[in-house]
Each structure stands twice: as C-alpha cells, then as structure tokens.
C-alpha cells in the first residue's frame, strides 16, 4: 500500500484533466461523480497509510525517521547537479495525507449540493481535483524544488477557484490579489531556495538533513534561508503582513473556502516550516521570528474577528488566528503540538465553513445582522456548528482543547509572556466564535422574510457536517490517548528537550487558565449578542475609532494599495524614460549626427562665403533680374571652396 503512494497525487491530476476535457458542461454532467470516486479512492489509500503508521503496524525504516523514500532523476545538468522527483513519507506527511484527502472528499460531496444549480460545475470539479493533486504533490514530494513547483501550482489553482465566478468583478480582483500576494511571499521562498542550493548544491530533504546534521550549513546562511522560507510561509499561510488576501478570498464559493482557505492550502506554509524544521533548529534566530510572527498574527487576527459582521470573514480571521497558533507552536519547539493543532483545526474549521455555507445557501446572505434564530429552521446545521464553536473556543475534552492546550503548554515552557498573550487570544477566540453562533442561531430573527425561507440543507450537505462534527468531538482525544500522535509526529531537538527548559508551571495553572478564559468569552458573548444588540451597538459607538481600525485591518490593505499605486507610477515613469530618453538618444541621436554634418556645411557656406550675398536685395540691378533668391547653385562659390582648400592644404603641408 505504501510503495504506490506516488499514485495518490497523480490520480486526481489525471481525473482533473479527464474532467476538464471530457464530458459536456451544464447542470447534469456526470463528471462530478468521477471526481468524487477518485478522491474516495485516494482517501481510502491515505487513511490506511495513516492508521497503519499511527498504530505502528508500518515501522519507521531502521535508523531513519521516515517510512518511505524513493526517487527518480528528473533533471540533470553540469557534472554532478541532479534534481530528483521523489516521494518522502514520514509522520507529518502521513497525517497531512489523511487530512487533505478527507477534507477534500467531504468538500466534493458537499459541493454536489452547494453547486447544484451552477452550469460550470464540470470546470469546478476539475479545478478542485487539480488543487488536491497539487496539494498532495506538495505533501509527499521529497525535493524542495518539486515542493516549490507544487506550492505555485496550489497558488494557481486557488487563483482559479477564487475567481471561479469571474463574471462578477469582486472575485476577479480577489483572485488577482491572492495570487500577487502569495507570489510576493514566493519570492522569499525563491530566494531561500537559491541560497540553499548555492550552499548545499542539492534540494533533497534527506540529503539536506544529513548536510545540516554534519554542520555544513553556516549559521548566518541557515538563518537567511529560514527567514526566506518564513516569508514564503507568511505569504501562503496568510501570516501578519501578507494576510490581506485571505479575507478577500472569501469571494470564492464556500466549499472552496472550506477546503483551501481552512484546511489545506493555508497550512502549506506551516507544513513547509515543519518539513525543513532541521534548518530552523540550527538557526534559533529564525525560529524566534517564526514564534513572534505566529503570536502577533494570532492576536491581531483575533481582534479583527471581533468586529466583523460577514460570517465568512469572521471565519477567515479565525483561520488566520489559528494558523498563528500553529506558527507559534513551531516557534517554541512545540513541533508535535503545532501539527496536532493543524490536524484538529482542519476538521472543525472545515465544519465551520461548510456550516456557514449551508447557512448562506439557505439565507442567501453573508451578513450576520440579517440572521438570528436560525436554530429553529436549521437544527442540523445549528447543532454541528455549535459543536464546532465549542471545540474551537476551547471547551475541555474536545479536540480543540487538546491541541490548543498542547501549543500553550509548549509556549509556556518557552516563554511565559507568549503563553499569557496566547491565553488572552484564546479568550478572544471563544468570544468571537460564540458571538458568531449566537448572532446566527440564537435570539429572534432580525429579518423575518429571510427567516421564512430558511430551510435545512439537503442530506448531501448535512452528511459531511455530521462526519466532521464527530471528528471534532473525538479526534483530539483519540489521537492524544497514550501519545499515539506523539509517537507518529515528533522531532527530538538535540539541545532542547520537548519539556526541558522553562519553569514547570503548577499542574493546575495551564488548564485552569484556559477553562476560565473559555467561560469568560462565552459569558461576554452571551451577554452582548444573545438578546438584543443594543448594548453591543452602544459599545461599538463608544469605541468608534477602535472598531474602525479593526474594520480596516490595521490599514495593511491601504498600505499594499499604496504600494501597488507606487509600482504603477514607477512603471509609467520607466516607460516615459524609455520612449522619450533612451529612444531619443538612439533614434534622433542618429538623425542628429546627419543633420549636424549637413548644418555644418550650410553654416560654413552661409557664414563664411555668403556673408555679402545676403545683401542681395540691396544690389542696384535693373528691374530685369528682379529679386534673386539666395543662390546655392553659385558656380563661383565652388571655385572659392576649391581655392580655399588648396590654400589651406598648401600652408599645412609647406609649413610642416
């Protein structure tokens, strides 16, 4: 089962090609089912691999930390420079395989219902399977170059999917913005790759690991590479400076947001950092940067989520915040905790998005102010969303609790200041999630008309919701039970034990604080949003400026818009220079030379010879000759030139 793992990314790739070119467009095309069948097969394969590796039935290769490592030469130039196309399956890879295929399968099933009335369904499924293929390629690939290739392909497919309804201007602009911002991040990744290659001469992860182990990579190079990869991760996983594209990416269909902007693509950055963790451990400065970036992103994103009214935008901010948590986890040597949080987050965030999708599907609006009291109309969606909200808010014993707790624990062991901010963010998380839940489902319906029409989504949509709900409930516990996940995904840092360092907190402090903060958030949310919104509105008016900055995403958007306008002005200036200056020098310059020579001969003629002739008019001639034009055909002028030349050369030669 494990040997043919390379089929897992290839099958969806072929299916996407088949779907794109085969079959006919339109509502009732059979292609979606083909897509789902292929994804089901992949899910089956990867879940088997995941469970076998989890339970240890497939042991690690002796002396290695991976289960499978095969490669074939793809590209070779120069004496010994070879790039291989290979597969590397280790703990994180297996986990991610399972997560990606699961969520992708559920989303595809869910989309059957969601996209039911869309006439370009065929193209949608083609892009979805292409995306999954690229994501799986990214997960399994053993060479960083192929990982980068898959990374960009994932970016392109997100561009295609965000801009799926390209007739409307919104999605088109959002798609471009997403691609450009991630491309900006990719430049950092590109720089990291170049630097890496110039020092080690190879892209292969296993070889790199041995290189770093032997200390061949100098410290400042490792730091620079780390920072480079971090910038790539910031771009792709929407961390602090480059997160602006994720909220706008909500323009795409909701299942797309669920798959790409919750569970899979956005975690690519985290996965990359995890994949090259050995570089980061050898460059503490880079690791510190990861931690702080993660922390700030988590906190700021959480604050932004508090004031947002668009249901999908709130979820987007929460995704950014949770990603921040994962980054934090990685930054504080909490390798396992980060990946654990990644897995659990995938489940409940996908659930939240799909739930929101079914709400939007029935209420046809994103704005929570027009919802309210939908629990009566949509019980299934409400309950599943409720479970997810509790999980993410940090209700103990649910999967969210386990993973977030692990991250906070690692943060505490590293630096208590981080832990404090982390707990505060957790509180904020529970506040805005509960706010969301209460606004949509509890309280009296604010828009009676929409309320009447609200109806529960069909089975194809609620089915996946229930599956995800079950996973959110039990997955955390199961994986945490007797360190199953711990065994699968761990990274022993030679100088820095998992629990070593940092003061040991009293046993009850960490979980207690988390529970307290969870309840606090719940209470506040209930107080403000369960009943009438008067008090919330009052608060908002008093802190007008704060609400406004949060609305404007701390003016990051404006900063990047200014940056774009700056580049446009620069481009216009360049083109002006090109057409005026450079062109003038070479074209008119040439004509200038020729005209100069002609002018010189004219000047010589006019000034020197014709001085007197200009007074032609004054010459008293009888009327017969009339006014004579300045005459150039003067034969005597020619004689003058000849004799002048003779005189000049004679003196020159004789006087020598």
């Amino acid at each position: 089962m494990l040997e043919h793992v390379y089929w897992i990314p290839l099958i969806p790739l072929f299916t996407s090609v088949v779907i794109l070119f085969g079959g006919k467009e339109g509502k009732d095309s059979k292609m979606p089912y083909l897509g789902i069948a292929a994804m089901a097969w992949c899910f089956l394969q990867s879940s088997v691999i995941f469970f076998q590796t989890l339970t240890g039935r497939i042991p690690l290769l002796e002396g290695k930390e991976y289960f499978l490592y095969e490669r074939i030469p793809w590209l070779s130039w120069g004496p010994n420079l070879k790039v291989h196309l290979g597969v590397l399956i280790d703990g994180p890879a297996a986990t991610l395989l399972f997560v990606v295929t699961l969520v992708s399968l559920l989303v595809q099933i869910y989309s059957l219902g969601y996209m039911y009335d869309d006439k370009r369904k065929k193209r949608y499924y083609a892009f979805l399977s292409f995306f999954t293929a690229a994501m799986l390629g990214l997960v399994v690939s053993s060479s960083l170059l192929i990982l980068f290739a898959a990374w960009e392909l994932v970016g392109v497919s997100s561009y295609l999917l965000i801009g799926f309804w390209f007739e409307k201007p919104g999605p088109a602009y959002a798609a471009k913005k997403a691609f450009i911002t991630t491309k900006l991040g990719d430049c950092g990744f590109y720089f990291g790759l170049l630097l890496l290659f110039s020092y080690t001469g190879t892209f292969d992860l296993v070889m790199l690991k041995s290189h770093v182990a032997q200390g061949l990579l100098p410290l400042e190079a490792a730091t620079a590479i780390g920072i480079g990869f971090l910038i790539g991760a910031i771009g792709k996983s929407a961390q602090m400076p480059l997160f602006i594209w994720l909220p706008d990416a909500m323009e795409g269909p909701t299942p797309v947001s669920a798959l790409i902007h919750a569970a899979t693509m956005v975690v690519a950055g985290i996965y990359l950092v995890a994949r090259v963790y050995f570089i980061y451990t050898s460059a503490p400065l880079a690791l510190g940067a990861v931690a702080w970036v993660g922390l700030f992103t988590a906190f700021l994103a959480a604050t932004m989520a508090v004031t947002a009214y668009d249901i999908k935008k709130v979820l987007a901010y929460s995704t950014i915040s949770q990603l921040g948590y994962m980054m934090l986890g990685l930054g504080v040597y909490g390798y396992t905790s980060a990946l654990f949080h990644l897995t659990t987050h995938a489940f409940f965030k996908a659930l939240l998005f799909l739930g929101a999708g079914s709400v939007i599907h029935s209420v046809h609006t994103n704005d929570m102010r027009e919802m309210g009291g939908l629990i009566k109309r949509m019980p299934a969606t409400a309950t599943t969303m409720g479970i997810a909200t509790l999980t993410i808010a940090g209700m103990p014993l649910l999967s969210g609790w386990w993973s977030k707790e692990a991250v906070l624990h690692a943060a505490y062991s590293h630096n208590w200041g981080m832990w404090l901010l982390g707990v505060l963010t957790a509180g904020l998380t529970s506040f805005y999630m509960c706010r969301l839940f209460f606004l949509t489902f509890i309280g009296e319906p604010r828009d009676p008309h929409k309320h009447q029409h609200a109806h529960e989504s069909p089975a194809t949509m609620t089915g996946p919701l229930w599956v995800l709900a079950m996973l959110s409930l039990f997955a955390g516990g199961l994986l945490h039970y007797n360190g199953l996940f711990e065994h699968l995904v761990h990274f022993e840092v030679v100088g820095h034990g998992e629990h070593a360092g940092g003061s040991h907190a009293p046993a009850f402090l960490l979980p207690g604080a988390a529970i307290f903060v969870f309840l606090l958030g719940l209470g506040f949310a209930y107080r403000l949003y369960a009943g009438s919104l008067k008090t919330a509105q009052g608060l908002r008016d008093r802190f007008e400026w704060a609400a406004d900055t949060l609305e404007r995403r701390y003016y990051f958007d404006d900063f990047f818009l200014w940056l774009v306008s700056l580049s446009d002005k620069l481009a216009a200036a360049c083109f002006w220079i090109d057409s005026r200056v450079v062109d003038a020098i070479f074209v008119d310059g040439w004509a200038l030379v020729v005209r100069a020579v002609a002018a010189a001969s004219d000047f010589f003629d006019d000034y020197f010879v014709d001085g007197a002739v200009d007074g032609m008019g004054t010459l008293t001639q009888d009327a017969g000759w009339g006014l004579r034009k300045l005459v150039r055909g003067q034969v005597q002028e020619y004689l003058l030139y000849v004799s002048l030349a003779v005189a000049v050369f004679a003196t020159f030669l004789i006087s020598r």
């Binding site: 130039w77 120069g78 004496p79 390209f166 201007p169 170049l194 446009d568 481009a571 450079v582």
Partner: protein
C-alpha cells in the same frame, strides 16, 4: 548528403519557385510556402535524429554534420557549416516556428507572393546564422535576415510600419557594422589569417587583454542590438507592434536568440578575456533588462507592446544566465531561449488572433472574454502563466536555472532581479484580469471563437510548453554535454570570478 546545406537552402529554393508562380495563384503560393517550411522542419527533425549529444570535444566544441569547402581562397573564407549541442535546439525552434507561422500567415491577403518570398528568404538567413562556423559566413547570414525583415515589417505592418521598418534596419545594421570591424580585427590577429571560429578559439591565448576587450565591445554592439540589451532595445517594441503577427512571431521567437547565441558562440568562446572584463557590466544590464523591461510592460495598454517588453524581460533572464559563467547558467540561458521562443511565439499568435477579430489591441477595450471565448482564453491563460514562470510549465525551469547559476556569483544583483518575477506576474495577471475576467463587454458579443487554422498554429506550441515544463530533460539532454564543455573551456580564466 549535406543535411545542413539542404536545411538552410531549402527555403531559398522554395522562395525562387514562388517567384516564378504568377501573382494571381494565391492558393498555390500558400501551399508551396507551407510545404517548403514543412519540408525544412522535417529535415531538421531528421537532423535531430542523427545528432549524438554526448559527442563533445575537450578544449574546443566538436561539430557534427560538418561541411567545409574552400569558398573564397583569396579572402581566406571557407563555407564551414557545423552543429553542436548549442545550435541544434535553436535550429529546431527556428524551423518549427517558421512552419507554424507559415500556417498562420494563410491569413495574409495582400501581395501574398512577395510576402512568402521575403518570408522564406528570412528563414534561410536565420538557419544559416546558427549553422555557420565561419565568421564571414556568419556575418553574411546575419545581414541576410535584415532585408527581408525590413520589407516584411514595411509592407504588411501596422500604421507606423515604414518608420518601424527603417528604424529596425538602421539599428541592427549600426550594430552589425561594428561586428564586421571586429571580424576583420580577429582575421588579422590570428597568425595564419582565418575566419574559422574553431581556430580562433584556440588562437585567443596569444591576444593581449586590451585587444580582446576592444574587439569584444565591437561584437557586443552588434549583438546587444539583437538581444536586445538595455540601451539598444528601443527598436523592439516599435518593430513588434508594427510587424504583422506571423512576422512578429519569428522576430520574437528567433531573431532575439541570434544575439544570445552570438554572445556564447563568439564573444565567450573566442574572446574570453573581453567577456570576463565585461561580466560586471553584463550582470547590471541583465538586472536592468529584467526589472526595467517588466516595469515598462506594466505601463502598457497595447497588448502586443506589453508582450514585446516582456520579451525584453525574458531575454534579461538569458543575460543573467550568461553572466554566470557556469554550466547551470549557460544551460539555463539556452533553455530560457528555447522556451521563450515557444511561449512568446504562442503569445504573439494569440494576440494576433484577437487583433484579427477586434482590430484593437488595447487591453482596456476588452472585458470578460473568458465566458465568450472559453477555448481561446484557456490557451491564453496557459501561455500567460507559462510566461510568468509558473512551475510545471516551460517558463519556470529555464528562469530558475539562470537564477541558480547567477546567484552563485552575483548574490546582490540576482536577489534584486527576483523582484522582476513578481512584476512579470503582476502585469500578466493585470492583463488577464482586464481582458478575460470581470463583467462581459457587450461590444464584443459577436467575437467568433478561435478557428482551426489558428488552433493548428498555436496548439503544438501550447503542448510543447507543458511538455518541456513537466519533462525539461528533453532539451537539457541535448544541450548539457556541450554546455559542460563550453563552460569550463576557460575554467582557469573565470576562476577568479567564482
């Protein structure tokens, strides 16, 4: 049977036959032209078949399909034709693009006979440049391409065609005339006076450094105009915009490559000291080409002009590869040349398709064509993404290798050039968004979809883009052994650079 001579002079034969056909028989003329270009392409495939990439000399390039006969003994000129790993892929690119552009130029209605005569004459010049191994012969073919291009742009071009034609002619001639002086200087510097490139490659040990620098500058003037390197590139946008579509495909696809080929074959191999002196300036020019070209492209509203500036940008990558005197750099430069030929060729064809229908190339005039022309916008999207260097498509590998090679020595400039990639992505996406996405512009509701003729012309290029993207070893297998030999021909010379 001299294969190289047949490939080079087959189009000439076709051209002469076309001259004899009366003007009215347009169908026959078109048929003849396409048949000739097809035959040339087949012959070049045959050449590829028989070519053994690993047959490589030690100190100087080892040629295959060599044809050498004493052409003008009193001038010391030999008809010396030969190919090696460097020239085979480019010849294939030339014959392929000529064949596809010939198919596309069925759309030309006015003065068809003259068009195809000049067109085939142009092809002779182009192929000749890449096979000639004698400097005199090289110069002869180099200039042979000027006249047909002048007439092709001048007669069938756009509104400002005459000015563009004469500007192109004078610009290139100005450069190549200094190349002539360089060739003469080399002729007199070699002890048994010779134009033979291979002998000159061995003779350069005895030349003084200042001599090599002066001759290098003379050659560089000629080559820079063709590449086009920064200060001499202003003719390119004008010539591209005014040239008819098939001609601008050939112009972008092949003529720009003659400059880079010349840099490797002549400037580097024969004048290493000159090349080594020029390296720091070359990297700066490469950087300017990339970033400046991309920025100018960003500011364009005319689609064709934008693609023209993007060629300036892409050739900047080639220069980057050349600035890194290493196997990676050279391989990257050649790979980028080939793929740029394919991608920009396809891009120009597609822009031509739109222009033939809408008679305007203004990006802002269109909107939401994606819905109306699904197949067309699909191919256009594929080519645009390939052009901005999306991995998995042909554009990425060449670009990446150039960066890899250049990064080893010029860390600062290469890092700055990485910004070029971002700007390239920006202006291509801006164009895609304005033309294909967004609300549908009712003005174009009767635009017909891409027809079979155009599809046949663009199809193979799109397939090749994907093929070379997924499996680049196809080209690298051909060029790598030769490049390995070329790049460490002057190992000792460029040691200090490393």
């Amino acid at each position: 049977m001299e294969l190289l001579s047949t490939i080079t002079f087959l189009p000439l034969l076709g051209g002469l036959v076309i001259l004899c056909v009366p003007k009215e028989k347009v169908g026959l003329i078109r048929g003849l032209a396409i048949f000739t270009t097809a035959a040339t392409f087949a012959a070049s495939l045959f050449l590829l078949g028989g070519f053994d990439p690993n047959l490589v000399g030690e100190s100087i390039p080892k040629l295959q399909y060599v044809e050498q006969l004493n052409w003008i003994p009193s001038l010391g000129v030999h008809y010396f034709m030969g190919v090696d790993g460097l020239s085979v892929p480019i010849i294939l690119l030339t014959t392929l693009l000529s064949f596809l552009a010939a198919i596309y130029s069925i759309g030309i209605e006015t003065r068809v006979k003259e068009f195809f005569f000049w067109y085939l004459l142009l092809e002779v010049g182009m192929i000749g440049v890449f096979c000639a191994m004698d400097l005199f012969l090289f110069y002869l073919f180099w200039e042979l391409t000027l006249v047909p291009m002048y007439f092709l742009i001048g007669v069938w071009g756009g509104p400002k065609k005459e000015f563009a034609a004469i500007k192109f002619f004078l610009f290139t001639l100005f450069g190549s005339v200094f190349m002539l002086l360089g060739i003469l200087a080399l002729y007199f510097a070699s002890t048994p006076h010779t134009f033979n490139m291979l002998e000159l490659m061995q003779a350069n040990g005895s030349w003084s450094r200042s001599f090599q620098i002066v001759v290098f500058i003379a050659f560089y003037l000629g080559l820079a105009v063709k590449i086009p390197a920064f200060p001499f590139h202003t003719w390119l946008p004008l010539a591209h915009v005014e040239a008819p579509t098939p001609v601008s495909v050939i112009l972008a696809g092949v003529l720009l490559k003659m400059g880079v080929y010349g840099l490797i074959r002549i400037s580097y191999s024969i004048l290493p000291a000159g090349y080594e002196w020029f390296l720091p300036y070359l990297i700066i020019i490469a950087f300017i080409n990339i970033v400046y070209g991309a920025l100018c492209a960003m500011a364009q509203t005319d689609m064709k002009k934008m693609v023209a500036y993007s060629s300036v940008n892409h050739m900047g990558y080639c220069l980057l590869g050349l600035a890194a005197v290493s196997t990676t750099g050279f391989n990257g430069a050649i790979f980028q040349m080939i793929t740029h030929g394919i991608i920009t060729g396809a891009l120009f064809l597609l822009v031509g398709v739109l222009y033939d229908r809408a008679h305007t190339r203004d990006i802002t005039a269109f909107g939401g064509l994606g819905a109306k022309l699904p197949v067309y916008s699909g191919i256009m999207a594929l080519t645009c993404f390939a052009s901005l260097g999306l991995p998995g498509l042909a554009g990425f590998v060449g670009e990446f290798m150039c960066f890899l090679g250049a990064f080893a020595y010029w860390k600062f400039w290469t890092t700055l050039s990485v910004a070029g990639i971002l700007i390239t992505a920006a202006f291509f996406l801006r164009m895609m968004q304005k033309v294909f996405l967004g609300p549908f512009n009712e003005k174009w509701k009767d635009l017909p979809e891409i027809n079979l003729r155009e599809l046949i012309a663009v199809g193979p290029l799109a397939v090749l883009t994907v093929l070379f993207g997924v499996w680049p070893q196809l080209i690298l297998g051909l060029t790598d052994p030769t490049v390995k030999m070329i790049s460490n021909m002057y190992e000792h010379m460029f040691q200090l650079v490393r």
